[in-house]
Each structure stands twice: as structure tokens, then as C-alpha cells.
Symmetry: C2
Subunit: 314 residues, 2 copies
């Protein structure tokens, strides 16, 4: 059995794979669009290099292991049609993303950006408006692995958490869970509105003008999911009109965010270049997901961890 990696791993990580799976041949090629792929039963990829053309040539392919959380840019219809099993590393991001979310929330509450500007001017000014996180309410759109980890940490800070998902089924570390259609009526309670929703037919454009008008004037809106949750123009208006206090955006309709975007120049926004999940420990963790599944695969167990339904897209 042959496995193709389309990204590099460290030498010691490869050595460990060879020791743990002596009967498997591991190859590496980061130019999968021109590389021979017909012999590989498994391809391990970040996802974006898998085109329909690659799929057509990968005649032995049975399992696509995607070392990424989002798969919406992949040719899912073709993957489904060919019966290729696809799994991802959903949950790999939960620690860095939850840490990033809390970093931004606490930084704004404790006015760290204001203090940083004062420091540059060598200015000792204690009259800085700082607030407390304790006693706040956070509404989390998409309380899955990542959203729940954020909920766990927020609860530790004495924050009330409201999860919001399509089903309304209770989610971990949420004091309350609501459905998408209850969102508008519950937004006025939230000091923090935080989305980690993936991009699906149900989440695209979910937030509109009326949602931002329903939020508190002091609310912090955070998008750590996908940029198509809300039109950029809607965000720009809400921020210019100070309908909310701050936005913290890690994802955008167009990425990289174009230099001409109005978002760059607004005063009540924090722009993060889609790095909330970055971590020096990423590949190490991705390999843990992969090897766990590879053991299952070897013994014929196709019920892999983090299987994706290519029709649903998650």
C-alpha cells in the first residue's frame, strides 16, 4: 500500500511513520498536479491541490486525508461520485483558535491596543477605559469542537454562553443552545458574538443588516469561521455607524483582504490575516489524526475519525 503526502513533514516524523507502519510506502510530492498519482491508495493533503484532473488520474485513490478543517474549496461532488472516502482534522484548531479568541476578547476588554499606543508616545496615562469580561454573555455561532472549547474557557472567566446551531441540539459548555431562527431575537443579550461556522449553504449570508442592528452598541463581533457568513458591505456599515463596539475578523469574503477594502481603515476593527488557528504544533497534531485513522484503515475499518460527508460538505 502506498501513501502520498503533498506537503512536507519533518525527518523525525517520517522516521516514526516508517517504524509504526513498516509495510506501507510513504512518498512525498508537493506538485500533485503534475506528479504521478495513479498508484496511491491514500493521499494526505492540505486540500487545495486536489483538482478534478488529479482525481481523474488517481485511479487507485480510496481515501483523501485532508490536514485542514475546511474542505469547501475541494471538488466534493467528484469525490462523492467516485466513492472516495474523505476525512479531515476537525478539532485540530481548537486550542490555538480558542486561545486566539480569548486573546482578542481580553485585549479589547483590558484596552491593550490603547495602552500600546500610549507606550509608543512614552505616555503614562491611567485614564483608560477598561472593562471586565466576568459577567458577560457570549453567543457562539457553531458550538462544535472549536466553539465548545471557546465556551469552556469563557465559562471559566464567568461568562454565560449561548450556543447557536442549525438543530438547536444542546452543545458542550453552552449554558443554553438555540437554533438559527432564534438568533435575531437573542442577539440583544450578547456582549460577544463569535462565529466559528463553516461555509455551507445554510451559513452563507446568515448575518444581515438586521442582525447587526439587533446587537448591543458595545458588542464585540468576531468571525473566526468563514468570510461568506456576512457581506463585507454589511460589516462596513455596521462598524461605520457604530451599531456595534468592535469587530475582530480573521476571515473575509475575499482573502487576502484587498488593500482597497474599507475595512482596513476603520477604527473599531481588528484585522487578523486568517491566522487564528496557526500553531507550531500543527503538523504534529495532524499526524496524530492521520496515524489513528491509518491504523483503522489497515484493519479494514472504514469508520474513520472526522469522516466528511462530501454531499453535506462537513
Amino acid at each position: 500500500m502506498k501513501v502520498l503526502f503533498t506537503f512536507k513533514i519533518k525527518d523525525e516524523q517520517l522516521e516514526k511513520l516508517k517504524v509504526d507502519f513498516p509495510e506501507i510506502q510513504f512518498d512525498f510530492n508537493n506538485k500533485v498536479n503534475t506528479a504521478p498519482v495513479e498508484d496511491f491508495e491514500v493521499i494526505v493533503t492540505y486540500g487545495e491541490d486536489i483538482s478534478t484532473e488529479v482525481l481523474d488520474r488517481a485511479t487507485s485513490l480510496k481515501w483523501l486525508m485532508v490536514a485542514s478543517a475546511g474542505v469547501e474549496k475541494m471538488p466534493l461532488a467528484e469525490i462523492a461520485a467516485k466513492g472516495i472516502i474523505i476525512s479531515n482534522v476537525r478539532g485540530i484548531h481548537k486550542t490555538p483558535m480558542a486561545e486566539t479568541a480569548l486573546a482578542h476578547i481580553l485585549s479589547l476588554k483590558r484596552a491593550l491596543p490603547v495602552l500600546a499606543e500610549q507606550q509608543k508616545r512614552k505616555e503614562w496615562n491611567t485614564k483608560v477605559r477598561q472593562t471586565e469580561l466576568r459577567g458577560s454573555t457570549a453567543l457562539i455561532l457553531g458550538p462544535g469542537a472549536i466553539g465548545s472549547e471557546m465556551g469552556r474557557l469563557l465559562q471559566a472567566f464567568g461568562v454565560r454562553t449561548i450556543g447557536c446551531n442549525y438543530s438547536g441540539n444542546p452543545a458542550q459548555y453552552m449554558d443554553d443552545t438555540i437554533q438559527f431562527d432564534e438568533l435575531l431575537s437573542r442577539l440583544p443579550e450578547a456582549d460577544i458574538v463569535l462565529s466559528v461556522l463553516p461555509s455551507t449553504a445554510k451559513t452563507k449570508g446568515l448575518l444581515t443588516e438586521s442582525h447587526f442592528k439587533a446587537m448591543k452598541e458595545t458588542a464585540i463581533f468576531m468571525n473566526f469561521g468563514r468570510g461568506d457568513l456576512v457581506k463585507e458591505a454589511v460589516l462596513v456599515e455596521a462598524l461605520k455607524n457604530e451599531e456595534i463596539g468592535h469587530a475582530v475578523l480573521d476571515v473575509f469574503e475575499t482573502e487576502p483582504l484587498p488593500a482597497e477594502s474599507e475595512l482596513w481603515s476603520l477604527s473599531n476593527i481588528i484585522i487578523s490575516p486568517h491566522v487564528s488557528s496557526h500553531s507550531g504544533k500543527y503538523i504534529e497534531r495532524a499526524l496524530e489524526f492521520f496515524t489513528g485513522n491509518l491504523k483503522k484503515w489497515q484493519r479494514g475499518d472504514k469508520d474513520l475519525i472526522n469522516l466528511i460527508n462530501p454531499v453535506k460538505g462537513y
Copy 2:
């Protein structure tokens, strides 16, 4: 019985005091050095306005309620000699200070200051060095009410906590507690070294050159206690020589930090103008401490909450 406040409280807070304590007369005067003070059994103060001269004139004074956590600038010897009971609001700061500490730690780990500079330049650059807090070790100097609250939150983030106090007695939310004389040998374990120690004879100058040389090159040193814990010159050298990764200082040998201090210009420092404890809820909470003690006082119970031993200074 007459009570003098030397700082303002809100009208509605005063009304509540009058309702709860109808037999007590509450006066306000923020110029205690010139005000008549001889009739007051209780003075409620932030502390710094109580001189020996005021004490000599305050012939009815039996209880000094200090709405502050540090009392080292007060004439403690005279207070002790006159048998005046003194209490403070130790613990009032724990929520804002713990939130501030986590804000700074997470901000540095997730590189928020770097991202803020990029945003100003409208620069989309994802190659930013970010690390995770999970799996770190924090050494907390002074694991009392505030230090333990920081420990509780750090543990929620998966951080191992080592408390360090004079006695070595176990402290809450510390995985391990060590004594001052074990500090030097345990510093190499710590990714975060965080002091909330008060200023006492035992803590002044506790940290020296050798302590900073013992820390990890990547360590974050945070002083949220008192500035005399370490000489400014020692800090400047440690930071210039990159013996540690970052310092986050909320307190300084001289406050306000003079414009000519070298600390202002260092690249690996965060300077906060002694605001880590600031919160819009401060006076509300101080009054909770005060009214709890005032009820005790009325029934002759002198075993007040947060009594200070003026000889020890804490």
C-alpha cells in the same frame, strides 16, 4: 457614630448606605489634610492621604478602612502605636488583574501586537510567529487571592502552575508550591514568571541578575505587584541582553515611569501604567467589603474581613 469618606461615591451608593445604616452619619471630604477629622470613628480612604499629622488630629479614629490593596505608603508604625484597626480590600482586584494577566499572556503568545502593526500598514502577512499557551508552566510569585485567581484561569488553559511564597505552604490552584529560597533553582522550568507580591521587607529586591539569567530565553516576566521587587537597571540589562523573551510591567520603581527611563524604548517590553486592577466596578466592590465590615463593627465584632497587621504590613 460618624464615618468619613475621603473619596467620592455615587449618589445612589450613598443613599443605599443611609438606608442600610440609618443610625450612622456619613460625611465626605477629599481634603483630609485640612479637614476636621476629630469626630470620626471610621475613615474610609484610598490610603495615601492619611499622614501622621492627620492621625494626630483624628482623636476618635478607631478603624481605617482602606479601599486599596497596598498599604505600604501609609504610616503603619503610628497606626500600630495608636491601636487603630486597619483593614483593606485585599482580593478586590482579583478579577480585573487576572483578566489583565491572561490578556497580556495570550496577546503575546498569539502575536497580537505584531498583527496590529501589520494592520496599520494594510499588510496581509500570515507568516507571523505564534505559539500556544497550553502546555506551558507558570511560576506565580505570591499565590494569594489574586495569584490564585490567575492560577485558576491558567490551569483552565492547560498551564502547570507553581506558586512561590515565603512559607512554602500549599496555595489554591497551584500544582506545586515552593519557598522563596527554592526560586532560583525552579525558574528554569517557567515559561511565565508572574509576580503579584506586595512590597515588604522580604520582597524588596527579591529578584536579581541571577534570577533573570536562570529564566528561559523565551520566558515572559510579568510584574503586577510592586516595582521594588527588582531594580530597574537589572530589568533593563536582562531585556537588552535578551536573557528573557518579554517583560510585561504594570508597576515600576518610580511611578509614573519617568520619560527618560530606558524601559520605554526597549522592543521586548509591554508597559502598562499601573492599571491592571482598574475596573468600572471598583467602588461598588469596595463598598461591599466596607458594609460587610461595618455590620460587624456595629455589633462590636472587631475581627474584620481583611484585617491588616500594621507591623507586618499585610
